[in-house]
């Protein structure tokens, strides 16, 4: 995993040094090229392939996160611009799958970055998270969506 990542970075720098252009597009292109070369090489050697599944997963997660961000932003925008309120706020208790401090921090960051939700508190044994939600039409549905769409995918990446 880490070894493959370092090799990929090394190939990127080799590519940038050989072409001699320090633009960001060249870095991105070099990284993609290095990723492709390592992927081809590793397929024949039959070594650990975890890295090659994880990088596309990270990009898929970023895209999904931005899609959720846009959807939630649209709801908040509609409520801000139109004169009446159609929000139903409330504080819910959410049981986390995340165990370590780093995982909890990343999950709290993700929740805080989606509009309409704010983390209010953590419980003493670090098992529950108290989230203030602005559009709480159905509590079970919200918890299900949060755990399957955001948390499980996030833990797949960082674990």
């Amino acid at each position: 995993m880490l070894q493959n990542f370092l090799l990929n970075i090394l190939l990127t720098f080799v590519w940038v040094a050989l072409t001699g252009q320090l633009g960001y597009t060249n870095f991105v292109f070099g990284y993609a090229l290095g990723f492709f070369i390592l992927w081809m090489v590793n397929k024949s050697v039959n070594a650990s392939t975890e890295y090659f599944y994880r990088v596309p997963k990270i990009f898929a997660f970023i895209l999904l996160f931005f899609y959720d961000l846009m959807k939630a932003n649209y709801e908040v925008t509609k409520d801000v611009i139109t004169p009446n309120y159609n929000m139903k706020p409330g504080i819910i208790k959410y049981e986390m799958e995340a165990k370590t401090d780093f995982e909890i921090t990343m999950l709290a960051n993700m929740i805080a970055l989606t509009p309409g939700t704010v983390v209010v508190d953590l419980s003493k044994n670090k098992k529950f998270m108290y989230i203030h939600v602005m559009y709480l039409t159905n509590k079970e549905e919200f918890i299900e969506r949060l755990s399957s769409r955001i948390e499980r995918k996030l833990l797949e990446i960082i674990r």
């Binding site: 320090l22 633009g23 960001y24 961000l69 932003n73 908040v76 925008t77 801000v80 611009i81 309120y85 929000m87 139903k88 706020p89 409330g90 504080i91 819910i92 208790k93 709290a108 960051n109 929740i111 805080a112 970055l113 509009p115 309409g116 939700t117 704010v118 983390v119 209010v120 508190d121 953590l122 419980s123 003493k124 044994n125 098992k127 529950f128 108290y130 203030h132 602005m134 709480l136 509590k139």
Partner: protein
């Protein structure tokens, strides 16, 4: 192509910040105001910074902008979390039409302060 991208990104960023500032004015209680404004600091400024990097297309500008975006995405959720926690402990009221408050008098949480009964702190 690059011109169009710069226009779209900077307009989006400005619109996000504008909506957040309207939200501060319009939202009825503290928590929803907070959850509207945290995103302006990250999403709006992030969009504007990305537009700036595409416009200048210089190595030094790109690295600085990426560093700023990285630190914004790390620090502003933590700040929002601490602000909302302090607000709850000091007894800021939820909106009158709120559905549930599962944090109130929950023995698991750090926020309930047994020395101060909730009815006495929560005054408008």
């Amino acid at each position: 192509m690059n011109d169009l991208l710069i226009k779209i990104l900077s307009t989006l960023g400005a619109v996000f910040v504008l909506i957040a500032s309207f939200g501060v004015f319009k939202m009825p209680d503290f928590y929803s105001r907070l959850s509207v404004t945290i995103k302006a600091a990250t999403l709006g400024i992030g969009c504007i910074l990305i537009a700036a990097t595409i416009h200048f297309a210089e190595f030094s500008v790109t690295t600085k902008a990426i560093a700023i975006i990285f630190f914004l995405f790390i620090t502003s959720p933590v700040a929002g979390f601490l602000i909302s926690k302090v607000a709850y402990i000091t007894g800021t009221k939820l909106w009158k039409d709120s559905i549930i408050d599962e944090l109130e008098n929950d023995p698991d949480s750090n926020c309930t302060n047994p020395a101060l009964p909730k009815d006495k702190i929560k005054k408008e």
